[in-house]
Subunit: 307 residues, 2 copies
């Protein structure tokens, strides 16, 4: 491995899970999902992702192959006795609202991530949506990370706010959706919500608004990227994690943190999220060329080119 | 008036009304409103608007001054015996959903617009949200318009679809919000909705999504402009009409119809809508300099500049 390759590794810690999803037009049973799976696969087009997660003995070699064939380093994937984390949900007609039908934590209960020695020098880190205390434990194990992005959710904002704020003070960027941004900040206008969140510590916050695009805020930067216009959405699950993976992967590939590279992160995050929702499970992230990716990038850029 | 000035006239036909509005944080009683008022005032920063509308004898000289002081030609404003159209509504906490509490058509009932002879050569026309048959009557009275934009609403889509489709075949651009676009097209994805709407005749369709920005579609063009990020929204009433007025005014000012001028239309429409929602009634559209307008334009452009 050259030093250039080493610079482009991205450590992804979160869930590797089975998802059962019903939408108005189809369904899938216990298919590969989880924040770390989506993020790592999305990142794999730009950098070398390494996953730290826990799965049960029902997690097959075939599941592992889906990750490893895209170049995801799965040596940090702990396989223990028991069942893999299983989430079951049903999307409403609008493909945005959803009901959670089951959350079987299984072996994910008490997940205590151990970052392998050879992963601890990761330059780029993604902390998937797990308990803030566990996110902190991951940060305790990595050294000299150049850029750390994290996700969270309404549940942790409501139940572990102090721990969450503590982690926010240690990361570079928070990925959050607009409802959660309002919940965390107490502000309904995204401009105000972003200001409050930045005051909690992260240098940047990305506010995701699904089909309405996403915003990035920092002290001296404000970017917007619209969502890719799709003729059909098959399964929105994992869109946010795919966004985060594409974002951090694209930033890792450039090796710099500035307005232009953050913008590339926003664009490639958007592109990878658009691929993710076109198929069930992680299948929308498996078979792309740099050309298909760049075509969507070009289209996004053309939509907002005004001259 | 020079011939250049003549080229930049914009005929605005719709309602001039009184609005009573309640929001979670304030209210206003019988203040100047109506689609033609908002559109003409927004357009007035870019072109010379001419209004054709009907008001009652309760419409005072002070109301007229609000329009004429911004250079709006009110010689087509018919003042008849009776009361001015009055709309009363209450916005929900989210500032998007609203309940209509009263729609007193008054003298607007049976509005039969008569376009004055000196207005009939208008190069740019905005047909505000009125009955499609009446919109058609306006088109019968103008000749050689270079560009006609129209608005409509859910009520006409449901109750006068054939007439609406007939008008759509005679205009260049439809302004419509996303819910109405779905209603008109039967499509939930905006890409598909736009395609269906373009098949009905207009060369372009602008789909407005409120705080989420707006999309413009044509056979060979797709543009997106995000909404201006505001710390506070006071009253969303008239945002769509202000968008249309700013859009058509900016296009009229350039005197050409191409990708760049349509993009300017989208941007200045967005800017004028953002001013409109910052105050009750039309007050957000009264006092701007080209500098305050261009500052918002620059910010919008910077949000979507990725290099």
């Amino acid at each position: 491995m050259t030093s250039k390759d080493r610079a482009a590794t991205i450590l992804t810690v979160g869930s590797v899970a089975f998802d059962s999803v019903e939408t108005p037009t189809g369904s899938v049973e216990k298919a590969l999902g989880g924040s770390a799976s989506y993020a790592a696969l999305a990142a794999s087009y730009f950098a070398s992702p390494r996953v730290v997660a826990v799965v049960g003995d029902d997690f097959t070699d075939e599941h592992i192959r889906k990750l490893s064939e895209r170049g995801v380093d799965v040596s940090g994937l702990e396989r223990v006795k028991g069942k893999t984390f299983h989430w079951k949900g049903r999307y409403h007609e609008n493909m945005q609202d959803r009901d959670t039908l089951a959350t079987d934590l299984n072996v994910f209960q008490g997940f205590d991530p151990k970052v392998p020695d050879e992963f601890r020098d990761a330059s780029y880190v993604f902390l998937g949506n797990i308990e803030p205390k566990i996110q902190a434990k991951v940060l305790d194990q990595v050294r000299d990370a150049r850029f750390v992005g994290m996700d969270t959710m309404n549940f942790w904002i409501a139940s572990a706010l102090a721990d969450l704020k503590s982690v926010l003070g240690r990361v570079d960027l928070l990925f959050i959706n607009d409802e959660e941004a309002s919940q965390l900040s107490g502000e309904t206008q995204m401009l105000n919500a972003a200001e409050e969140i930045l005051a909690l510590g992260p240098r940047y916050v990305v506010i995701k608004r699904g089909e309405f695009g996403s915003l990035l805020f920092g002290s001296d930067i404000c970017l917007f990227v619209p969502a890719v216009l799709l003729p059909k959405v098959v399964d929105p699950t994992g869109a946010g994690d795919s966004f985060a993976g594409g974002f951090l992967g694209a930033v890792a590939r450039t090796g710099a943190i500035n307005r232009a590279t953050l913008a590339q992160g926003m664009i490639y995050g958007t592109v990878m999220a658009s691929f993710a929702v076109e198929k069930f499970s992680v299948d929308g992230l498996l078979d792309h060329s740099q050309t298909t990716i760049d075509l969507r990038r070009d289209f996004l850029e053309s939509m907002t080119t005004y001259s």
